[in-house]
């Protein structure tokens, strides 16, 4: 009776399959079709280049603030690749790679960052939620949405992304607790990119891992090498299968790195060492994955060159079509349109007032 240890039922593990030197643990190698592997690689490269292009557009003043994803391609695509089309994805604000994987319009992404509400449109069939800016507030949505799925006896799951910083917010806590209590089909994917703006992971929380926060909810948690797309995929696959088969939620901590600025309004030299960035460049998720694909004869240097050309041209098209779209977006009365399903009288009046002002000369 006196002092006895309690068995917590779960242990916290770290998973790595393809290490930074490209060494593979073939026992753990996930079974992924060649097509899928190639598509994963293409999207990693596409989103890396698109991210770079966005940075240029921002620096040129054509776009406002955005949060680059550089370095997190494996952490995002590895997880999202496990999802079926009807599964749901709830991003935070730094999951462009996952969103593009899910088929989100790149023009729309540009539109939003260029300050046009129209870019926020979610097409009717899409199960990818809009970007969520207030940190961690999307977490309870994912739990509630997954509840609705379970309620409707559908087989889909919800995957929600959030950062390391997000784990400090009350909404993270409340969302995970809800998901565990009701055993909803939710997969929480933490993009632990080591920084929350200027706050390093070590100051964000005193716990050794973020994965172990799952224990607070009686939920399985796992830490994976987030720059190892095979490890991310494997962990996500386990979690999604568990969720789909009714066995409840999982927390996955992806150890990755924000190789770029926090947002374009940020200057990381104020708070972090270039050395650290250099160290992480060696662990670049794309080059590592390329090594693997080459070993599997699914990729050659020539393929990469061709792909780079193709992507360049794709991005050019996107940017051009975005620029054209922007010219057509001329209707400022749009701000009244979607506030309510139907415009209430006071907004009808305010809209008229606004239109009258528009038509007045300076």
């Amino acid at each position: 009776m006196p002092k006895k240890e309690i068995d917590l039922a779960y242990k916290i593990e770290h998973l790595s399959i393809l290490d930074e030197d490209g060494e593979l643990d073939s026992d753990l190698e996930p079974d992924i079709s060649d097509d899928l592997l190639v598509k994963m690689h293409r999207t990693m490269l596409l989103t890396r280049r698109f991210d770079e292009r966005m940075l240029t557009l921002q620096r040129q003043g054509k776009m406002g603030t955005f949060a680059p994803i550089k370095g997190q391609e494996a952490s995002q695509i590895g997880a999202a690749a496990v999802l079926k089309e009807k599964d749901w994805l709830a991003p935070s604000f730094r999951e462009m790679a996952a969103e593009v994987w899910r088929g989100k319009s790149m023009e729309n992404i540009l539109l939003v960052y260029a300050g046009f509400n129209e870019g926020g449109l979610i097409p009717d069939e899409s199960h990818t939620l809009p970007v969520c800016i207030p940190v961690a507030t999307q977490v309870p949505h994912a739990a509630g949405l997954a509840y609705a799925i379970k309620f409707k006896k559908e087989e889909n799951v919800v995957m929600v992304f959030h950062g390391d910083g997000a784990t400090s917010e009350g909404d993270f806590h409340e969302g995970l607790n809800f998901a565990a209590v009701f055993q909803t089909p939710t997969v929480f994917v933490c993009q632990n990119n080591q920084w929350a703006i200027s706050v390093p992971r070590s100051r964000q929380t005193h716990s050794k891992t973020l994965a172990q926060k799952a224990l607070a909810y009686g939920m399985p948690g796992i830490q994976v090498d987030g720059n190892d797309i095979l490890a991310v995929y494997s962990a996500a696959k386990d979690a999604v299968e568990r969720a789909r088969s009714g066995d409840g939620p999982t927390l996955i901590e992806c150890i990755t790195y924000r190789m770029s600025v926090h947002t374009t309004a940020d200057d990381p030299s104020e708070y972090r060492d270039e050395e650290e960035v250099k160290e992480w460049e060696k662990r670049d998720p794309i080059t590592r994955f390329q090594k693997y694909l080459k070993q599997k004869d699914l990729l050659s240097d020539e393929d990469i060159d061709n792909l780079e050309e193709e992507i360049k041209s794709d991005i050019k098209d996107v940017v051009q079509s975005w620029e054209e779209k922007m010219e057509d977006l001329g209707d400022p009365t749009d701000m009244f349109t979607y506030q309510y399903a139907e415009l209430p009288p006071h907004l009808v009046a305010q809209k008229e007032e606004f239109e009258a002002m528009l038509s007045k000369k300076e």
């Binding site: 509400n117 507030t137 309870p140 739990a143 509630g144 609705a148 309620f151 979607y338």
Partner: protein, 326 residues
């Protein structure tokens, strides 16, 4: 159905809507097994099971946030925050998401949810159990804020709120929960959100009020009639936002005098908006300053002094007479 108090009437609305529409679900703290701390959700669990009547963990932000998530996938959550005084914990979910999701997604995802909570003084409760802060919600674009004054309207408005495609804050005046009974029709009844109602006609002075203040305003109107021979018009606002200013700005064209009565603090309260609209729309008809008979700008005191804070008939009469004598 016969005579009902407001608790029973709200319960009826929930039951009938749940019966009619399988997507309507109820969630909150103690709404299931316990039937709600005010018994508003009594019997729902037995009738609709624990998948549709959810006793949640103790976490308001999650209650609102999970409701948003459910609404995204087509459910119609009616969530309860046990007391409005705790609803500020979930305020950011309502402000950042419930209110904005439709606009953010350019129309794809409207958040059809109702957030119910008891508000206001009058039940000898503890601190944080007697606030009237509807102005926070009313100032938030994308939300609608509804406050019924009696059983029949509560039932009709809640049905409308549940069917409304936009998020509705449904503030229930707990002092009116069991204060009186009204005939509530068994058959479906709705009442348009965004419409006020003239509940007493008169030509000399206009009272604008809502919630638990309606009854005492009507009492004051009767006294004015008896003692002063003054015919008061009384308008029950019913929806605080979007505010129907048509009836009251028209009423004042006839009466020239206005008294606004609410429990909420005066400064930056709903009465300020009414005053501003009156000046904007019926300026030339105002014959005297608009009087606001309201809660003071202090934290509502514990229950022994609550009556000193909340407007009573005496204060309403005093306000009216001052305006009339101006």
């Amino acid at each position: 159905m016969g005579k009902m108090n407001m608790v029973e009437a709200i319960n009826l609305a929930l039951k009938q809507e749940m019966e009619k529409d399988g997507d309507v679900i109820v969630l909150g703290e103690d709404v299931g097994v316990d039937g709600g701390v005010f018994r508003v959700t009594e019997g729902l669990l037995d009738a609709y099971g624990e998948e549709r009547v959810i006793d949640t963990p103790l976490a308001e932000s999650m209650i609102a946030g999970a409701s948003v998530g459910m609404a995204i996938h087509g459910l119609k959550p009616v969530c309860e925050i046990q007391f409005s005084g705790f609803s500020y914990i979930s305020f950011h979910q309502m402000e950042a998401h419930a209110a904005r999701y439709r606009a953010r997604t350019q129309g794809r995802f409207g958040i059809q949810m109702v957030l119910r909570c008891p508000y206001g003084g009058g039940v000898r409760a503890l601190e944080h159990h007697s606030e009237s802060r509807e102005a926070y919600y009313a100032h938030t674009p994308g939300l609608k804020t509804v406050i019924p004054s009696g059983p029949r309207k509560a039932r009709a408005l809640l049905v409308s709120a549940i069917r409304d495609p936009d998020p509705v804050i449904f503030y229930e005046p707990k002092a009116a929960y069991r204060a009186f009974r009204e005939e509530v029709p068994e058959d479906e009844e709705t009442f348009p959100i965004g419409e006020s109602e003239i509940v007493r006609e008169g030509k000399d002075i206009t009272f604008i009020t809502y919630g638990a203040m309606l009854q005492r305003t009507l009492d004051a109107a009767d006294t004015l009639q008896e003692e002063d021979g003054v015919e008061a018009e009384v308008i029950d606002l019913l929806t605080v936002s979007p505010m129907d200013d048509q009836k009251f700005t028209e009423s004042v064209r006839k009466t020239g005098h206005v008294v606004i009565v609410h429990e909420a603090h005066r400064s930056f309260g709903p009465g300020a908006e009414m005053a501003a609209r009156l000046v904007e729309k019926s300026f030339l008809y105002l014959e005297a300053p608009i009087r606001r008979v309201t809660g003071y700008d202090v934290v509502i005191p514990l229950y022994q002094r609550e009556k000193d804070y909340i407007p009573d008939v005496k204060r309403i009469l005093h306000g009216a007479r001052e305006t009339l004598e101006f």
